[in-house]
Symmetry: C2
Subunit: 393 residues, 2 copies
């Protein structure tokens, strides 16, 4: 008897996470089994909050492919040992033989633990991790789907903001806060904005390099003395040499009143305003940088589909306890299965050798790495002049 | 002898202000005269900071059409009486017979004064105002180019943020701060985000309606009690019943530390956090809403071109002291010249009868007005996966 497929989404949304669901559904349809999605990740799974996607029509499936955010809902729940029994009861009830968990590092750890538990209790299930994160911080895989589109949004937005920021004939310093607690990949993508016309950003600050207030002010003063116009991009997760978040050291940190992370922009704005130049503006890209499907990268979307569909192929071939990693080839990208044990609990950060510390920039090698990921425009469907999206929660 | 053309940009940037320059240049090329642009508006004009655009090649001109922000720089300078002499000396030196000023209300006042001065001193110049503002607050004209694209960006972004904001299975309140000090048109455009899939925004606050903290909290509580998820859009310029900015009443206003306007989002976040729900997130769309050419409206771009080229036609026909206003027709839009005296110093706000006060929403009539302005995608050129833009400062 054909066994069924179940997938779920986890962690923060991206602009192409649903493209992986599209890939899973497209490929799994060939198996003849039923296709279920759990709403709200493993949290919904434990509550039996499932939705059957077997008979989704082609048009809706196409719209799903280009819809941003987690169309089935998400969670940040780490499965505890005593919760596995509940999960496997539901697997058994729905005859689930293939489980796909789309997410970042925590999700890979969950999929890994789940595989081990299955082995222990003798439940036959193929568990596959599908990578997704705008932070691009999973090891081994060339990149993580979601990163390419977030990078494209960041680069395009920095281009546009750079053109906007200095239209008046007077000094101005602009600071853009970009997501990334521990990984500077997304902030580094702001470097792609620079071209023959746009000389921004002038200074880039990544969490991989210890942040020092005095050095920062010197950098800004030096840049400002040249053109009276400085455009700065900074990771939300900048840390001092002791590894503490830079902006939390401020006694007035509470005044910034930010939920979760964020606030480094306002903190740097304050530093600049009191030390260098009064005309300073901080912009926080906020949740748009991970959800702006309207400018998603086609390459990113295509690869997101591929990790989903290849994940199903690997599972149907009998593989389990793997993550579908991405390999860069001469012509583009292909996938390769890697043991989840090699991924879980490990973090990739922006390579130190790609940081041009003196110029507060990134190297040519970094640009060469990032550029292929932002190529092409995803074919988002429009209706009444606006993108048309779908969701199932 | 053929007299020359000079144009300049003024006020805040938009995503299509350069499309009007494209229209001016395209049409003025037919006259055989020279075409100059002043950098940094009338400020640059007085410094003789001019650039000749007569021989701009077609390819660069096409890129200019789709480039955001003021490609020739801008200013917020209001010409004083004793500065007219300087301006007219430069007009005379360059044999300027046609002057086009692209901007909002202040720019129309400047063009109006300049026309009167020309009459007084007997200098023959045709002075024409070309409307541009994301605030959409110029009277008579059906809309202001720049508004359509900003509206499209706001609506698309609210769609995407709405999908992103509530992926977890727990309560969340999201507040989006949108530009507009006195005019609610741009915030009202967030209503276009709502469709069969996306039920956001739930509450819309415009500066045309007095803001009351207690009413606001009641609105939010009522909406929250239904779904535990509330998506709010609010104009930066919300005012209380005495006409004072709502958020400046807070004694802790300084802590928000914002340059220029902005801050209402953080203020509402604070209100919600201390009274309704701790999980609340404020997002400020900031300068991206006026510069995001990558999602500019094609209708807006086309009409921006038209007000530029028709402005040249009207001037060449001998008209002066006019603004090129936009008239809505059955098939689209056309232009009509209106006396600058009817525009200067007057402001259009969002019609009160388009506000659904009880539901904190806008009426069907408002939607019908806004929807045609966001139609179509401007054909932004791409290079290496990113929009390609040009500027001349």
């Amino acid at each position: 008897m054909t066994r069924n497929v179940l997938f779920a989404q986890s962690g923060g949304p991206t602009a192409v996470i649903n493209a992986s669901c599209y890939g899973i559904i497209k490929e799994a349809k060939k198996s003849g089994g039923k296709i279920y999605a759990a709403r709200y990740g493993v949290e919904g799974l434990m509550k039996e909050n499932l939705i059957e996607m077997t008979d989704i029509d082609d048009m809706t499936l196409e719209v799903l492919r280009y819809s941003p955010s987690s169309a089935f809902g998400s969670c940040r729940h780490k499965l505890k040992e005593d919760e596995f029994e509940t999960v496997f009861k539901i697997f058994d009830k729905y005859n689930i033989g293939y489980f796909f968990y789309i997410g970042g590092n925590d999700s890979m750890t969950t999929a890994n633990k789940l595989s081990k538990y299955a082995l222990k209790v003798g439940y036959d299930i193929k568990a596959v991790g599908i990578p997704k994160t705008i932070d691009n911080d999973l090891p081994i895989t060339d990149f993580c789907p979601g990163y390419g589109s977030a990078a494209k949004y960041v680069a395009a937005s920095v281009k546009e903001m750079a053109l906007d920021s200095d239209v008046y004939d007077k000094g101005i310093i602009t600071i853009v806060e970009i997501m990334g607690r521990d990984s500077g990949f997304l902030t580094a993508a702001s470097a792609l904005a620079k071209d023959k016309v746009i000389d921004s950003p002038h200074l880039i600050y990544l969490p991989e390099m210890p942040f020092d207030e005095n050095e920062f002010l010197k950098d800004v003063e030096r840049a400002y003395s040249k053109k009276k116009k400085v455009f700065i991009t900074a990771s939300e997760g900048l840390k001092n040499k002791d590894g503490q978040y830079a902006y939390l050291r401020e006694s007035s940190a509470d005044a910034f009143n930010n939920m979760q992370m964020g606030g480094i922009g306002k903190y740097l704005e304050h530093l600049v305003k009191t030390n260098v130049e009064k005309r300073v503006k901080a912009v926080e890209l906020s949740i748009l940088q991970r959800s702006a499907a309207h400018i998603a990268s086609r390459v990113d979307n295509d690869v997101a589909v591929m990790v989903g569909s290849d994940g199903v192929k690997y599972a149907m071939d009998g593989m389990t306890d793997i993550m579908v990693s991405i390999v860069r080839t001469e012509g583009g990208f292909k996938t390769s299965p890697v043991p989840l044990g090699d991924i879980a609990g490990k973090i990739k950060t922006f390579p130190l050798e790609w940081i041009d510390k003196y110029n507060r920039w990134v190297t040519r090698e970094a640009i060469d790495y990032m550029l292929p990921l932002v190529q092409g425009e995803a074919r988002v469907p429009y209706e009444k002049g606006l993108p048309k999206y779908v969701r199932f929660i």
